[in-house]
């Protein structure tokens, strides 16, 4: 009995310094998680924070850092799922998770879900709500709705000015008509590409079609219709001519896509730089 008492005392004494060094206790784990988070090792930070949240389920600052870790890691779907688990009832959501939830939904391109969430939510401040609503329309390239929404919102909300510019740009975006480009190239080879902005390709097409047709005509004029030379160049010239008409069509499509991509890039920049 006495021996046992002695033993447990001994263990307790040994245990003391060991406990002082415990690297997995909550304060040290928090410190370590914060280091991982601030040194941008987000995937490792998420593992550590998940463990901490298991130990302290109601700690909001840990939860916020966890969501941000997933977001920074571009794992928007997991971030959203995690908020779902924190707040099974979406009406009970508190700041800043309402903001983070809308952000992650939009970053995951779930525009409809975002608008549904914003419609039922009452905690988010109006400026943020308007921002996310307008942005969901922009992401869908639905510029009519975004203009309508932005017109209803008071002009003093400064964070929305970037969105107003983007919306206006989207609405007035210049597009090239594929039909017109094809018709132009059918009349004068290469001219359709002048119209769509690929003027260097247009010049090359004009020259190459010109030279090959000239060769074909020369071939036919020397040897008549029996001229292999004429037939070869004739088919090359026809091929180039038809190809160029088709190319004018794709060129106008590419032009339109380039414009849309440029706008999408600007939107991404505006969204991810938004605080």
């Amino acid at each position: 009995m006495r021996f046992n008492l002695l033993l447990s005392l001994l263990i307790f004494v040994l245990y003391k310094p060991a406990q002082a060094q415990n690297l997995y206790d909550i304060p040290r784990s928090k410190e370590f998680a914060s280091y991982l988070f601030h040194s941008q090792q987000y995937s490792l930070a998420a593992i550590e924070l998940e463990r901490l949240i298991y130990l302290e389920p109601q700690n909001d600052s840990l939860r916020e850092n966890l969501i941000r870790s997933y977001s920074f890691n571009k794992d928007f779907a997991t971030a959203g799922k995690r908020i779902d688990a924190f707040f099974p009832e979406k009406k009970a959501i508190t700041s800043p998770f309402d903001d983070l939830y809308a952000f992650n939904l939009l970053a995951d391109k779930k525009t409809h879900a975002t608008r549904d969430f914003l419609a039922t939510n009452a905690t988010l401040n109006p400026e943020k709500r308007h921002y996310y609503q307008a942005f969901s329309y922009l992401l869908e390239q639905d510029f009519n709705n975004s203009e309508r929404l932005l017109a209803e919102i008071p002009k003093d909300e400064s964070s929305l000015s970037a969105l107003r510019d983007l919306s206006h740009e989207g609405l007035t975006m210049r597009r090239k008509s594929p039909g017109l480009a094809m018709a132009m190239s059918a009349l004068v080879p290469g001219s359709g590409k002048f119209y769509t902005g690929d003027w260097k390709d247009g010049i090359i097409s004009l020259i190459s079609i010109g030279i090959t047709s000239f060769q074909a005509i020369r071939g036919f004029s020397i040897n008549g219709t029996a001229s292999t030379y004429g037939w070869i160049y004739g088919s090359i010239a026809t091929g180039f001519y038809l190809g160029n008409i088709y190319g004018s069509f794709t060129s106008s499509k590419r032009y339109n896509k380039r414009q849309a991509d440029k706008l999408a890039q600007k939107m991404d920049a505006a969204f991810f730089l938004h605080p």
Partner: protein, 110 residues
């Protein structure tokens, strides 16, 4: 410190590896038209293109583009797209295409 002198990381070759390209997209044919164009393509790659300096400004090259286009859009539109591509293969509009850093070529998919 008891590691081997020649760890696997140093087992590299100095030879510029010309990775023998498998043109898988010319293999899985579903109809006679595709067989015909695949044959044409493989013959061109084997006998003609192999004797040429690298002359195309794009990746995939014009012949590969042609093969892919015929498979994607059918023989007529595929050929039209290829004939257009041959005229665009002039290297005058670098600002309009993405650049492949590894191959040093501009990217243009059918």
């Amino acid at each position: 410190m008891g590691q081997s002198f020649a760890p696997t990381e140093l087992r590299f070759g100095f030879r510029e590896t010309h990775v023998h390209q498998e043109y898988t997209f010319a293999k899985n044919n579903t109809n006679e038209v595709q067989y015909f164009f695949s044959g044409l393509f493989l013959f061109y790659k084997f006998a003609i293109s192999s004797q040429d300096n690298n002359s195309c400004t794009f990746s995939p090259s014009c012949s590969e583009f042609g093969m892919l286009a015929v498979k994607k859009k059918g023989p007529i539109f595929g050929m039209l797209a290829t004939l257009d591509r041959l005229q665009r293969c002039n290297g005058l509009s670098p600002e309009k295409y993405a650049f492949d850093q590894e191959k040093h070529l501009f990217i243009d998919l059918p």
